[in-house]
């Protein structure tokens, strides 16, 4: 029962904050969006905990809220971006965007509801998302993607430096 309550709370929080990231009626400032993104991430971490993914919940908060969002904020500050310009929003693009997203949502939810996937799920979990089992799997079964990720990170590093470096004229 408590779990249900937590789920509803966190789920609603996640969705509302996400919505506020995307469409905040009060502010079009990117900083506001970034702050709501942090809230979204944190409430998602709550959902992770509900799903027994304790380690991932921590990673989510640390990496996303602690690094990614900070990076965003840093860039916002660096570029000194004011509020999103109050250009005349193209009604068409907004409505069509809502329409498309809505249609995808409806289809996805219909699919989920009609799938009866719950029947395939096991109700009582045995494993828990602790660092130890995760690490074992990561470094045994998933070593190759992990190594590739290291290259990816190297590439990202090189790329970020190359791209953001000031031109030497």
């Amino acid at each position: 029962m408590i779990e249900t309550l937590f789920f509803i709370t966190f789920a609603l929080l996640t969705l509302i904050c996400a919505l506020l990231v995307v469409a905040n009626p009060f502010s079009r400032n990117p900083v506001t969006s970034a702050m709501f993104l942090v809230l979204t991430i944190i409430s998602m971490a709550g959902l992770f905990v509900l799903l027994n993914a304790f380690f991932l919940a921590a990673v989510q908060v640390v990496v996303y809220a602690g690094a990614v969002i900070v990076l965003f904020l840093f860039v916002i500050m660096l570029l000194d971006i004011e509020e999103e310009e109050r250009r005349k929003l193209k009604q068409f693009s907004v409505y069509s965007g809502i329409l498309v997203a809505g249609v995808v949502a409806v289809i996805a939810i219909t699919a989920i509801l009609s799938s009866g996937i719950g029947a395939y799920a096991s109700a009582s979990p045995v494993i828990q998302g602790n660092p130890a089992p995760l690490g074992k799997i990561l470094f045994r079964d998933y070593l190759l993607p992990f190594e590739i990720l290291s290259i990816l990170l190297l590439v990202a590093m090189v790329g970020a430096i190359l791209l953001s470096k000031k031109d030497l004229k």
Partner: protein, 100 residues
């Protein structure tokens, strides 16, 4: 009782909210945040599946996604910075030299 479906629905909604942002917001940074939301929707679905299938592989995948997202963000933000330096804008609509 909270079922797998419920998590999936939340995840799908989150995905669509992200999509909405991508489709409507003009600021590249916010647009990028919306993309992060979409990735997070996948994360949520994976973690939920991991839990309900009793299978940690999903969590590993989430781990990868978070890492990739970080890399993507770093490159993306660097690109946005470079663009801003060049064009003094972060509005996606200003990027329409290449067309037709």
């Amino acid at each position: 009782m909270i079922q797998f479906e419920h998590y999936l629905i939340v995840s799908a909604l989150l995905f669509c909210i992200g999509l909405l942002g991508v489709l409507t917001r003009k600021n590249l940074l916010v647009l990028y945040m919306s993309l992060e939301l979409m990735l997070n929707a996948a994360n949520l679905a994976l973690v939920a599946a991991s839990r309900f299938h009793d299978n940690l592989n999903g969590q590993i995948m989430v781990f990868f996604i978070i890492t990739v997202a970080a890399a993507e963000v770093s490159v993306g933000l660097a690109l946005i910075v470079a663009l801003f330096r060049r064009r003094q804008t972060t509005n996606v609509q200003d990027l329409s030299e290449l067309k037709l």
